[in-house]
Symmetry: C2
């Protein structure tokens, strides 16, 4: 039991360390040494727990991928109001992004620079499309919102949420170079902005 606890702890420490390093540097940019340092252990132990760099990476990546879809899926209510969906999603997702600002870039970079590996992760790419479309169709039929392709709305929403985080260094330089604190306020405002922006453009 001592052994199991130790094992469990070390494994967990490795995963956390790997997470921070991989998410920040990507598969190619990350160094096993850096992960070992971050976890307070040595390189050899990384290989003892996870055979290779790539295997370790896959754990982190799969997990990051699932978590995104979880946030979306949890916000979908098949028979619910679109506005409730938008509010809960934007609220939850932007909160997640505040504490994990680099995950989107991590995911996008990996899927774009190693497209051949996408097939390996298909089972983690699970959006409740029927539920989402059903909700949209119902709201449109009820004239709660205007007629819009569900795909477009989701992409709009995701794009508006994610962009300030993946483009943050540019955003800072362009708009907040002499008020470095300004960006915090901008990001804070964003939640309300996105919600009211979407509401307005969805008017019937």
């Amino acid at each position: 039991m001592d052994k199991q606890n130790t094992k469990h702890n070390t494994e967990q420490q490795i995963l956390e360390a790997a997470r921070t390093v991989f998410i920040r540097k990507g598969l190619e940019g990350a160094r096993m040494q850096e992960i070992a340092n971050e976890a307070g252990i040595n390189k050899a132990l990384l290989h003892y727990y996870f055979r290779s760099k790539e295997k370790l990476f896959n754990h982190i990546f799969e997990n990051a991928l699932s978590s995104v879809f979880d946030v979306i899926n949890e916000s979908i209510l098949e028979d619910g109001d679109v506005f409730v969906f938008i509010e809960t999603f934007v609220d939850n997702y932007l909160t997640t992004l505040q504490s994990n600002p680099f995950i989107p870039n991590f995911i996008f970079n990996e899927i774009n620079s190693h497209p051949e590996k996408t097939g390996q992760f298909t089972e983690k790419i699970k959006l409740n499309v029927p539920g989402y479309k059903h909700m949209m169709e119902k709201n449109i039929a009820q004239k709660k919102i205007c007629n819009i392709a569900p795909e477009h709305l989701l992409i709009d929403m995701l794009g508006m949420c994610v962009f300030p985080y993946i483009g943050r260094p540019l955003l800072e330089k362009v708009f907040f170079d002499e008020h470095p604190a300004g960006i915090e306020n901008f990001l804070y405002e964003r939640k309300q902005h996105i919600i009211s922006f979407l509401k307005k453009s969805l008017q019937p």
Copy 2:
């Protein structure tokens, strides 16, 4: 003159090859060998023309960075109509993205995974902020559009344009898995969608 032509040609070939490889794989993911193959030459020649991998990379990166801001800046008309700005920008930028779909991810990944190098490129990060803000303020004062922070609108617009490209593999898998051709149509529709979506949300 023969020599100069040759030189110019080879240099150009290298830059083109480097562009395709770096944009797709990033600084760390790219291999000098792959660039050489792509250019139809050998590794040594790459170093002859550009001392190092990093120097070669910087050429490509600076160029990609400038080109984005050029498209935005060229669309800004200090005394013009916001809707004209939106239409010309979205039209031009989405057209650019069609032929260069990986540039956004390339830029975002680099600025996020090598933040320390951002200072090196500050002079390429040049948005005509005064002109843009002036245009916005004027349009708001004239009640052409509702009161909105200029920063938010720009981010909204960029996010909506860029997201389908950086997230394309996921988008394909989620929505167009059994209609692979569907995504082309979706991307085509997007131009009009974004424009009308923005117009509606900007109503006074």
